[in-house]
């Protein structure tokens, strides 16, 4: 382990810093730009997102083709290192968040057109992405903690953006959940540090050596971490903030549910099991089964609640609770195949869910639709949006060849290879529930007649809605189809997930 001051760089250490800086600086600049300077703000926003994409592409190329490693290490205090490191798993999350950030930026520009306080919104929007990129790049628990908390604080202004009484109450609820979650994480980090000292993600021997003397403490600690990450990952019963927070503007919900907050929790659980405790140790110590059961309960509970909702965004919110837990479920099943399913779902769920929220936002913005019954006949009025929604909904159900099919395939076969037959029961039940709450939406949207004629289109000809709202949804829908249809291609999410898993199980 490298401690000591200064930096330990194995080539291109400035790249992770630049990736973080690209959105951090953009955030600052946006705060300094005048509210009315719309063009300039948009240019900064999109420019930063493009720069980040280019940087990530460069890192991707280095890591995947040349097996290059990037890390930057500073000592904060003796024994406390600030470490940014690119391994395959961080690359995975990094790519997801930078691609979706770019698309969500475009969407948000379209969505908030003409509304007040855009400066504040886009400023925090950039900071929020900085935080999620930081979480991806964090190389040890302390760095992870810093960005994890940073994320909590930067998303709050986004959730309460509209400033109404309801959104403020939702924001308060959000903080009342995530703050104790952060405190639990702090407790865990400090506790583990007092036991093991500072160590990096991937140094899993540290825990194994401790196990002989501190078995009980390590078990308790594991669940303290699960609790801390579980708040953001919306594991039952820590999920209460998520349905409340969906009151935020659509791009925020999209980001919250697909990349930023919920994913940060799931990503934390992945790191915890794979890079802190190590899968082999976690399995031998019997830590995984309770986590698997918790995830399974969450999956079924979320789906059942989703089925009962008649508000589109609320239904989607409960669906997120259910879908994100596939990640926790997969990682809690000991066996490489299920782990692949879990990892790949990190990306797949992001693509599909962001599409659904983009589309829900389009319906609400263009036609004022919030309730599922109001969707009747919307397929004729907004065929492209509805088509994107359909692809993503099929993906959530797991209909081939969409992304969700691949995730469920690996989770299902993986659970059986690991001898966990009950998981297939959970998957089948969840698929049934998914079908039961998504297919009626599709039927209503495509086949039912509208109750009253639609308001005339604002823009003539083909534009069913603003282009900035439509294109991101189409792109993510196409991506959620492509990553499933071409799952076995090199450098697909599945391919990377397989590589990550090989390394995890080789340790």
């Amino acid at each position: 382990m490298e401690s000591g001051g200064g930096r330990a760089v194995s080539g291109g250490g400035w790249l992770p810093v630049l990736v973080i800086a690209s959105s951090l600086v953009a955030g600052l600049v946006i705060f300094l730009i005048d509210e009315r300077a719309r063009r300039l703000r948009e240019a900064v926003n999109i420019g930063a997102a493009l720069i980040k994409l280019a940087l990530v592409a460069f890192i991707f190329y280095g890591v995947v083709w040349h097996d290059h490693s990037f890390d930057v290490r500073y000592q904060i205090l003796p024994g406390f290192d600030f470490l940014l490191r690119v391994d395959l798993l961080s690359l995975f999350f990094l790519t997801l968040s930078s691609v979706l950030w770019f698309l969500t930026t475009l969407y948000a520009i379209g969505y908030l057109e003409g509304s007040p306080n855009r400066k504040r919104f886009f400023g925090f929007f950039s900071l929020c992405v900085t935080a999620s990129v930081g979480i991806a790049l964090a190389g040890n628990l302390i760095t992870f903690f810093i960005f994890y908390e940073f994320l909590t604080l930067t998303t709050y202004p986004l959730v309460v953006h509209r400033g109404t009484k309801k959104t403020l109450a939702a924001g308060r609820t959000y903080l009342l959940y995530t703050m104790p979650g952060g405190a639990a994480l702090f407790l865990g980090v400090v506790w583990l540090h007092s036991l093991a000292g500072s160590f990096d993600f991937g140094d899993i021997l540290v825990i194994r050596e401790l196990a002989a003397e501190n078995g009980v403490q390590l078990t308790i600690l594991f669940y303290v971490f699960v609790l801390a990450f579980g708040v953001k990952a919306a594991l039952v019963p820590l999920h209460g903030w998520l349905p409340v927070a969906m009151i935020a503007p659509a791009p925020v919900s999209a980001l919250l549910h697909a990349v930023a907050v919920v994913k940060a929790g799931a990503f934390g659980i992945l790191r915890l099991v794979q890079d802190v405790y190590g899968v082999h140790f976690a399995n031998e110590a019997g830590l995984l089964t309770p986590l698997a059961v918790l995830a399974a309960v969450t999956i079924l509970y979320g789906s059942a609640r989703a089925l009962a909702q008649r508000d589109l965004k609320r239904r989607l919110a409960y669906s997120t609770i259910s879908q994100v837990s596939y990640i926790a479920l997969g990682v809690a099943i000991f066996g490489p195949v299920a782990t692949i399913g879990s990892l790949v779902h990190l990306v797949h769920q992001g693509l599909m869910k962001i599409t659904l929220f983009f589309c829900a936002g389009n319906f609400a913005e263009t036609l004022g639709i919030h309730h599922i019954d109001e969707l009747a006949g919307v397929g004729r009025r907004m065929p492209w949006t509805m088509a994107a929604f359909t692809v993503a909904a099929f993906g959530m159900i797991g209909v081939p060849p969409t992304a969700g099919f691949i995730s469920k395939w690996y989770l299902g076969t993986g659970a059986l290879s690991a001898g966990q037959t009950w998981v297939v029961g959970v998957l089948v039940a969840s698929t049934l529930l998914n079908a039961a709450y998504f297919l009626p939406i599709l039927h209503i949207g495509w086949f039912r007649k509208p109750a009253k004629p639609w308001a005339p289109a604002k823009v003539a000809r083909f534009a069913e809605t603003s282009r900035l709202l439509l294109i991101p949804a189409l792109v993510t829908a196409a991506l959620s189809l492509a990553v499933g249809l071409f799952a076995a291609s090199p450098f697909s999410p599945l391919d990377l997930a397989v590589q990550i898993t090989e390394r995890v199980y080789a340790k």
Binding site: N117, R120, P157, A169, G240, R310, T413, L416, F486, P490
Partner: protein, 578 residues
């Protein structure tokens, strides 16, 4: 390229669905032309070697063997003639573009799944066929169609779920997604029985085995005529193909479910006829006939697994039986459409054509039905199974019962009030129907000459009499009965509702839905007891949240917070540097 074009061409053409919906020529071009690559492959005009596509799904593999080539030819013929028929059938109707789109997508799935040799590809195309066919079932948007669509979809999803569980299990025990290796792996695994049960039930929904056939008699009458023809003629066979892929038939395995499956097949063969006889709608009658015929196929599929069964003979024979039934059933369905559109003068000819197709299914000597039944019969003595003894009797009895059922069908068609004014697009329909009849006349014999050049096709008088007897008996009985009841008015309402047992399930479903709407949904929606809200109240979060608007209504200061954040972080990073 050839393999892919079978799937991609229909999908590509689906993109042109909205092009000139009023023109039957365009419909014919799109829906009739899309099956061309499949026709070429099915009839062996081109014969590329097996090919795999590494990057697609989880490696997609394509290939064909003789039984599947026959099924592909069958599917291609039905989809193509169905497409041409649709050009006339839909002329001047609303929603043509929608129909074209679902038709072509479902076609891509149906044709493609026959080629697929890997589990993921097969399942994908199977699902594409199934889900796209929903759009065909509910095409008319009538209350009946929506009801049929709902039941179709529920049962299809039920089937898909069983199927995916079976596939997960099969893939994980065999460690392969190649269908042949998968079947071998499952056969050698101790968990094979539950896996077989899941697969048989999962595909059984499509095959229409007892008791999973309810959707069939509901969906067939409401779907547009070409769609019902394809549903019965080709899509049901996809389920049979799924069984073949899963079963240990090529491993020579004799699983324990031969007898139970054969019993289910028997129940379908005869039960469906009994219920079908009480139907008053011609297309419902045909649907029950399909269930009955799939029952025969089920029994012989079970026989394939008996020790000593000549598999290399039985499987093509089974496929040819499916071919003959598929083409003839297609001709019957299209004939219903032709009879509805046709004028008075053409009527005797139409009835003659229908009778020909019906007799071919029943197995009158000189028809394809007699040939294929004969081929199945020849295989029976070789198999050492308790089944084998009474299988010839089954075929004879099936001929008799089929004659009754399809005789009733002809009677129902003759009863139909017919329109005298010209229907637009009639030439398309008549043309498609006549081509299908032509293929029926020469097709089965053609396959025999090609695949089994030494097979004695020549007429054996003794066999011919034996084959004709049950049909003549059935026909005699029908005429006698009809003559005895000639004075009584015809029934308008069926004694047994179409879909028979489904009525019970619908009652159950309504009861569940009532409970759901009345009790469970309000509970889960949080209207009675909101778990989260109460948790929040308990923890004081609720109150805290309501206090929120005290100081925060003016969020202006958040801008400065943002800048402060940045500066803190900047300072943080720079101090770290030092």
């Amino acid at each position: 390229m050839m393999w892919v074009s079978v799937i991609l061409l229909p999908m590509l053409l689906a993109g042109f669905s909205r092009w000139r919906p009023e023109s039957p020529w365009v419909t014919a071009l799109l829906c009739g032309g899309a099956g061309l690559p499949a026709l070429a492959l099915g009839f062996g005009w081109v014969a590329p070697g097996p090919q795999s596509f590494d990057g697609v799904l989880l490696v997609v593999e394509f290939g064909l063997d003789t039984p599947r080539r026959i099924l592909l030819a069958l599917a291609a013929v039905l989809w193509t003639t169905g497409g041409f028929f649709a050009a006339g059938n839909l002329a001047g109707q609303p929603r043509v573009a929608t129909f074209r789109c679902f038709f072509l997508l479902s076609m891509a799935g149906n044709l493609g799944l026959i080629l697929a040799e890997d589990a993921a590809g097969f399942y994908t195309l199977f699902a594409l066929m199934t889900f796209a066919a929903y759009g065909l079932v509910i095409h008319s948007r009538s209350a009946n169609a929506l009801r049929a669509g709902k039941i179709y979809l529920i049962m299809a999803i039920f089937g898909e779920l069983l199927l995916i569980a079976a596939i997960y299990a099969a893939v994980s025990v065999s460690g392969s997604i190649n269908l042949a290796e998968m079947a071998e792996g499952v056969w050698q695994d101790e968990w094979r029985t539950p896996i077989y049960a899941l697969a048989i039930a999962g595909f059984g929904v499509k095959v229409g085995i007892v008791p999973l056939y309810f959707w069939l008699p509901l969906a067939h009458p409401v779907a547009p005529t070409p769609a019902s023809a394809i549903l019965s003629g080709s899509m049901l066979k996809a389920g049979l193909l799924g069984w073949l892929h899963f079963s240990p038939v090529l491993q020579g395995g004799a699983p324990g479910w031969i007898l139970p499956l054969a019993v289910l097949g028997l129940a379908a063969t005869f039960g469906a006829v009994l219920i079908g006889l009480f139907q008053t709608d011609a297309k419902t009658n045909l649907a029950y006939s399909s269930i009955s015929q799939m029952g025969v196929l089920t029994v012989f599929f079970a026989l394939c697994h008996a020790a000593g069964a000549p598999v290399e003979w039985l499987l093509p024979a089974l496929a040819l039986y499916a071919w003959n039934h598929g083409i003839a059933k297609g001709a019957l369905f299209l004939g219903v459409g032709v009879a509805q559109a046709g004028g008075i003068r053409a009527r005797p000819w139409i009835m003659a054509g229908l009778a020909l197709a019906a007799l071919s299914i029943a197995g009158l000597p000189l028809t394809g039905g007699a040939l294929t039944k004969g081929a199945l019969k020849d295989a029976v003595p070789l198999a050492s199974s308790g089944l084998a003894d009474w299988l010839p009797a089954l075929l004879v009895a099936s001929s008799f019962f089929t004659t009754l059922l399809l005789g009733r069908f002809l009677y129902l068609c003759a009863q139909k009030p017919h329109e005298t004014q010209a229907v637009p697009g009639r030439p398309w329909q008549t043309g498609a129907w006549l081509s299908l009849l032509g293929i029926l006349l020469v097709g089965t014999g053609g396959w025999f000459m090609r695949l089994l050049p030494d097979y004695p096709v020549a007429l054996d008088l003794e066999k011919a009499v034996a084959a004709a007897a049950p049909i003549l008996l059935g026909a005699g009985l029908l005429f006698g009965w009809h003559w005895a009841r000639r004075a009584k008015p015809a029934r308008k309402v069926p004694v047994i509702p179409p879909g028979d047992g489904v009525v019970l399930f619908e009652w159950l479903g309504r009861a569940i839905l009532r409970t759901w709407r009345g009790r469970i949904q309000p509970l889960l929606a949080g209207r009675v007891f909101d778990v989260e809200k109460n948790l929040h109240r308990l923890l004081g979060i609720e109150q805290n949240a309501l206090l929120a608007d005290s100081g925060e209504r003016h969020l202006g200061h958040w801008n400065s917070v943002g800048i402060a954040f940045f500066i803190t972080l900047l300072i943080f990073i720079f101090t770290l540097r030092g």
